[in-house]
């Protein structure tokens, strides 16, 4: 758990993740882009479960809905679900070694992707097999780097 939470860092990280969600990734490789906002929600609920939770994740998800032009509420629900699951397991999660943490990231973001994909399909999206799970995998792979980087920034500036 972080001793100090730097709110400016929090705001900046959210803006950065929103920008990364729509840009700065080679066109044609969009399938493999990590779910940046999901990672941010995961990180902040994991590090500061007392301050950030379901409602706040829902609000961020709503912004992602606007950016992705999905029906309002779809990504919001997915993000709230991530936050809820992190809140239920964060004490155990802290004890886990890196590989196991990565696995949890994969599972939680995978659940989020499945829910979002399911809802999109209900409203007539196209089915592309299991490739919608790629973002969960790439997110899990960059989780150690991402979390160490964020911890360092927090420690320096928090």
């Amino acid at each position: 758990m972080l001793s100090v939470i730097s709110y400016p860092i929090f705001v900046l990280s959210v803006i950065a993740s929103l920008v990364l969600s729509i840009s700065l990734f080679p066109v044609g490789w969009f399938e493999f882009r990590p779910e940046w906002l999901g990672l941010i929600v995961f990180y902040w609920t994991f590090r500061a479960p007392a301050q950030f939770g379901v409602l706040f994740a829902w609000c961020l998800g709503l912004l992602l809905d606007v950016l992705e032009a999905t029906p309002l509420g779809v990504n919001a629900l997915g993000m709230a679900l991530i936050a809820f699951l992190v809140l239920t397991i964060h004490q155990r999660l802290r004890m886990y070694p890196w590989p196991q943490q990565c696995l949890m990231v994969f599972l939680l973001l995978g659940i989020n992707q499945m829910l979002v994909h399911f809802l999109k399909q209900v409203f007539g999206g196209e089915d592309a097999g299991f490739s919608y799970l790629w973002p969960a995998l790439t997110s899990a792979l960059i989780w150690p780097v991402f979390s160490i980087l964020m911890d360092n920034i927090n420690r320096k500036l928090g």
Partner: protein, 282 residues
Amino acid sequence: MPGLRLLLVIIVSAALIVADQQFDRLAPVRSTLATGLTPVYWLGNAPYQFSDWVAGLFTTREDVKQENEDLKARLLILERRALKYAALASENNELRRLMNSSELLDDRVIVSEVVSVSPDPYSHEIIINKGRSDGLQVGQAILDAHGLMGQVVQTSQVTSRVLLVSDSSHAVPVEVVRNGLRAILLGTGDSGTLDLVHVPDTADIREGDLLVSSGLGGRFPRGYPVAEVSLINKEPGEPFVSIRARPKAQLNQSRLVLVVFPPKGGPRPEPVASDSEQEGQG
């Protein structure tokens, strides 16, 4: 406690999704949020603009001179064509007037820049930097230098979202330039191919035929090139031929696009209104 909140959030989300999807009540909310998110779009586009600017710093004088000369040559060719076009357009309008048709060919366009592409790899959408403050409305057609690209599906104050013709939920009414054969062109979800559907196997259509928007349906203006027939596959026993077409517009390359404003007094981009108008005309 988190469980209670999750329950609350699930109920609110379900209500939002139903209101948005079934009753279409949330367009103002979405538009307001999108306007608030304009800095995000701007930041997302900033690196590309910066790299363009850096690339501009390092072009040599010779390159610029060469480009300038090429552009001048091209301008000359286009001007010659425009001269011919002006004569043709006036002749065309004259003929239309003689036939008592009220519809004159003049579309107003504004130039816009693509600031972002849709982050969802399964939907073909782009975001352009013109919005309601420039007078854009849902349903307007978007062109690039080569042909029809798509239509505006959402507007915020300063940006708009454009659905491309290649999206699997998109359809354009088209006609073959050579003989006026009408058909519907569907997107396939692949930016290089479109499907021409419900063409009977006796229809006169060949590979290489140019398909232009027919203006039926009232959403797209008439006469803009959309695609070129690339493959015709006649299956014996099938009532329709399967026809593939290649979009004329460079859907995933163009950075500058044109937004077409419908001529005054012409069909509005509202689908319901235009349908009734067409029945009235026909």
